[in-house]
């Protein structure tokens, strides 16, 4: 894991930035959310992929690409969370200022 992070830190930083931007936008986005069923299916798929990666089930380059995908997903999610949280905080503060004003 440490090797993957040090070798791909540039790409991981990109994923983090992408996630931050997506999280920033998501708070005020009017698009419909993902249906609950889809949420479960995607979560199950993610769990399956993580399990496959941890058990080294997929050999060679395909196995490496799977690991790379999963490793990039982590900073994306983290970026999303931080982005959403910060945006929510900014929106909340401006709304309160407007209400007081």
């Amino acid at each position: 894991m440490a090797f993957l992070i040090t070798f791909h830190w540039g790409w991981l930083l990109g994923a983090l930035a992408l996630g931050f931007a997506m999280g920033w936008v998501a708070v005020v986005h009017r698009a419909p959310g993902v249906p609950r069923l889809w949420m479960w299916l995607l979560s199950a798929l993610a769990a399956l992929l993580v399990a496959a990666a941890l058990t080294n089930l997929i050999p060679g380059r395909a196995g490496y690409w799977l690991e790379l995908l999963l490793v990039m997903f982590v900073p994306y999610l983290a970026g999303c969370a931080v982005g959403s949280w910060l945006r929510a905080w900014v929106v909340f503060r401006s709304m309160r200022a407007k209400a007081l004003g």
Binding site: L18, G19, G33
Partner: protein, 464 residues
């Protein structure tokens, strides 16, 4: 927290650019990653004792193909690669190096190079053998065609190094180890090389033996040339040691009483057995020739030249093969020198006197048997006697004054008769000769000194 969960439902559109980013990352990083892992895996195997090592990287999975020389060597190689940071799985395709049966190794020398072939047990020893060959043959090209295999006999290294140390003594040839058997073939560089190699191989380590030694040495040569014009007898070639050198020089000076002996012999080991016992009679035969060449090459004697008369040629051809030790070959190509024209008896007398002033007919001490060293002198006397066929000749024997006079008288007569017998065997008529014995009654010099006594012991030829 509930907000975070609610917003997360809207994070999915970012997955599409993330997948694009992932695609780019995978496309651009796969080859550098594989190269990086291959480099560091190979570096991790650098100190491992392996042959035919091949590292193949697929993603983060490494396949190690190699031939190891022990099971622990295999597992430690795999462990070394598995410990490289970034390697996910190691596919162990190592195997044990094949076991050679029999375990064969060879060192072959030709004109330009030494080729090491066969099997070596370990890579380190392989390079050590090549290095040893380079050191032993300063400047000669060394070609390494050794393969690696298991199954070397114990002490293989010592045996191979010992043989490499000897290959410099070969001009061309091959040393072979097959399990514990050592076979040698080829031609030694110098006389005695064969013996030197055989001596060195006595130090072979336990478990090794010489199964065949076909190393030949250059021929052991001694040459002698009798030149009647320069009145010299030139010796060249080899003699085994100082003692035999002295024997050959001594016998030459006695046999070639008239010629100057030019001694160009040098000492060298490697003489065939019975060398001196073959060379001395061969020189005796040469001394009976007017002009001739003697070539002793290993156990072969070649004598060519001109005898002084027919019977001498026949005697040399018949007796020389019997005089040399068993196992020696004699090739005698003896022709007969044309007889010189007849001369007056007074000239004959002069010739006899001149010749006997240069050389003395020798006898065995106290006996009437003619010493073999005097055969050449007698042949010359026969030749002169043939030139004056009408002259009658008195052969007179004289002794020194040592011993009783009666015995000396008898001995001088017997010796004179022995000389006449030789002349008759040579084909001269017995009627022409009379034997006379004078004991010590006609001394030429004082009998008080050994030189004087030597002068007094003599045979004289008197034409009547």
């Amino acid at each position: 927290m509930r907000g975070l969960f609610r917003w997360s439902g809207k994070w999915w559109p970012g997955v599409i650019p993330l997948l694009v980013l992932w695609g780019l990352a995978a496309w651009s990083s796969t080859a550098p990653l594989e190269n990086d892992l291959a480099g560091r895996s190979s570096a991790a195997l650098k100190d491992a004792v392996l042959d035919k090592t091949n590292v193949i990287v697929d993603g983060r999975d490494v396949t190690v193909r190699a031939e190891a020389f022990s099971q622990s060597g295999r597992s430690s190689a795999v462990a070394a690669v598995a410990a490289v940071p970034g390697v996910r799985l190691v596919d162990d395709e190592t195997r044990l190096a094949p076991e050679a049966k029999p375990f064969a190794w060879s060192a072959e020398r030709d004109v330009v190079r030494v080729t090491l072939g066969g099997n070596a047990p370990l890579p380190a020893l392989k390079s050590k053998l090549v290095e040893a060959a380079r050191t032993a043959l300063n400047g000669t090209e060394v070609a390494d065609q050794m393969a690696l295999a298991r199954g070397a006999p114990p002490h293989f290294e010592e045996a191979a190094l010992l043989l490499i140390g000897q290959i410099g003594k070969l001009k061309d040839g091959k040393f072979t180890i097959s399990d514990g058997d050592i076979t040698l073939s080829g031609m030694a560089r110098e006389l005695g090389g064969r013996e030197a190699i055989a001596t060195a191989l006595k130090k072979l380590p336990e478990g090794f033996k010489v199964a065949g030694n076909e190393v030949h040495a250059p021929p052991y040569i001694l040459q002698a040339y009798k030149d009647p014009v320069a009145v010299t007898m030139t010796l060249s070639g080899n003699v085994p040691d100082d003692n035999i050198h002295a024997v050959i020089a001594g016998t030459s000076s006695r046999k070639f009483f008239d010629e100057k002996v030019v001694d160009n012999l040098k000492n060298s080991i490697g003489a065939p057995s019975g060398f001196v016992n073959a060379v001395v009679p061969a020189l005796g035969a040469l001394s009976r020739l007017s002009t001739g060449t003697l070539l002793v090459s290993d156990r072969e004697i070649k004598l060519s030249g001109d005898a002084l008369y027919d019977a001498a040629a026949a005697q040399i051809r018949a007796t020389l093969p019997k005089e040399v030790p068993p196992g020696w070959q004699v090739k005698a190509e003896i022709s007969v020198k044309p007889q010189a024209g007849p001369v007056d008896p007074t000239v004959c007398q002069q010739l006899f006197t001149d010749l006997l002033s240069k050389g003395t007919i020798r006898f065995e001490t106290g006996r009437a048997d003619i010493d073999r060293d005097s055969a050449g002198l007698l042949d010359r006397l026969v030749e002169i006697a043939m030139r004056c066929p009408t002259a009658n000749i008195e052969v007179a024997g004289h002794t020194d004054a040592a011993g009783e006079e009666v015995a000396n008288q008898a001995l001088s007569e017997k010796r004179a008769q022995a000389v006449i017998n030789f002349l008759v065997q040579a084909g001269l008529s017995a009627n022409r000769f009379t034997a006379a014995g004078f004991g010590s009654t006609q001394p030429l010099a004082s009998n008080d000194t050994s030189d004087g006594r030597a002068q007094n012991r003599r045979i004289e030829f008197l034409v009547r």
